[in-house]
Symmetry: C2
Subunit: 315 residues, 2 copies
Amino acid sequence: MSRTSDIDILISEVGPRDGLQSVDRTMPTEVKNKWIDALAGAGLREIEVGSFVSPKRLPQMADTGDVVKHAITIDHLNVLALVPNLRGAEAAVEAGAHALSMPVSASRLHSQANIGMTPEEALEQVAKVDELRRNSGRAVSLEVGVSTAFGCTMEGPVSEDWVIELAVKCAEAGADSVGLSDTTGYGNPAQVKRLFTRLRDELGQKAGGAHLHNTRGQGLANVVAALYAGVTTFDSSLGGLGGCPYAPGASGNIVTEDLVYLLESMGLRTGVDIEALIAARSIILQGLPGEPIYGSVPDAGLQLGFAYAGQGVSA
Amino acid sequence: MSRTSDIDILISEVGPRDGLQSVDRTMPTEVKNKWIDALAGAGLREIEVGSFVSPKRLPQMADTGDVVKHAITIDHLNVLALVPNLRGAEAAVEAGAHALSMPVSASRLHSQANIGMTPEEALEQVAKVDELRRNSGRAVSLEVGVSTAFGCTMEGPVSEDWVIELAVKCAEAGADSVGLSDTTGYGNPAQVKRLFTRLRDELGQKAGGAHLHNTRGQGLANVVAALYAGVTTFDSSLGGLGGCPYAPGASGNIVTEDLVYLLESMGLRTGVDIEALIAARSIILQGLPGEPIYGSVPDAGLQLGFAYAGQGVSA
């Protein structure tokens, strides 16, 4: 399980799930494991290591059971797996995942395209998964992310009232926490601040993290707005690998390297070593030669006199 | 002169100055003029069209007098020129610039490298330029930007107290407004919010805008922090062209296209048409074939259901 008492912000690395699912090629299992080792070695406390979905639909994720079994051997790492439904949750619990992440989409068209269910049907699955994990005989967390919370490539704007209503229903259905996902890179800082403030007002301690994409270059701007709304957990992906294959035009999670730099330079402790993250990028390219990866801090390097949060020299 | 009553945020386009001075090749004068026409046509109210510096040092800027003479024929456009000293200011006033922009660097090493003066000597030049423009027989604005206000590639961290002290001295020396420049891309949102809040507390109406670079991908994140500190003027560059040739490793102003998208999507009116901006990018490449330009919104396009500020359909 993760330690979080010595950090201010929890970064949940989603590259092995959200990143890899957007790439047609499959990264070999041993490279996934090596990558996850390096991510944990860089100080990341939580990694979403894969998803339990049909291998016909996402063959890149067919080995998620084996990847989970490896990841749970790493000390102090919270191992998440994405599960769209009860069947996936059964496999994830069986493999030993510490936490289950379920997507519930606010957009009806996206919900059908992504998981083949209406939002209401997805809520029923949340309730069933909650029952499953409570009967599993061990502590398994259940997190929901409300997808397309900031807009949908198929529907356009999504009602903010509905997003919050759906988040409340997810908590009522049994989720330990409910976060908001900008699946499509449509979010803007005013909207992000407004929605996360409402989420916190409604859900209190069950208000979850922010899953932001950088499709229009607004990812870190949205992080700042989320910080002002009190968000303390952020998803990101090493090298910005990733996106949603069912949201046409949406590409790229926010870049972990740039996110850690942002937070640490603001004085917020993440526990993550930026240079170790940068070194881990080469493992992605071992498993997926030639794959485009992103990030500004890896190119520009740390600044002269850079200090991690809590170790700063004030000038 | 610019109209600003119908906008919330003034975007000051600096591509023809900060962008072009970082490129070794020289854009032909007629292309510069065409580019400036397109920028103004897209709705930009203020453009820094060049700098009056030694043509030996920056041959790319040798035609700034001619460019100013063209730009001042455009209706409703505030035409800025950068001047490092009295000599440059004389040429700018002679050419008909509406406003003079002077850099005063907080870093002593950067000040010497950039303008060959100490900060104190630069302040003396501000006072002399103030006298010149007051005796010019017409209304000429005088803006100062405190360079390296967020750190220096040669000195590392820069004292925040000194940055504010210097800004106050610039105002006392005669500047109408004093902004802060992240010349090196070192700024973080906490620092940006803190410094612009202090600037406003000290200078009131004379507190100027934010000149931010995107060296480490933090540009728009810093914009959000500056907005929270009440900043209403931002410099940016079409296609992210630009940087500071005397700050090694620093490259790239924030991208005007992505900035306008950010602000408009937040409900802040800029008066600028994003698609017209995107169309203007081709002119840069006419004048500088093959030059790298940047931006996420030009690649991803506007989102489904995008609405400019004040014209939004709430969902």
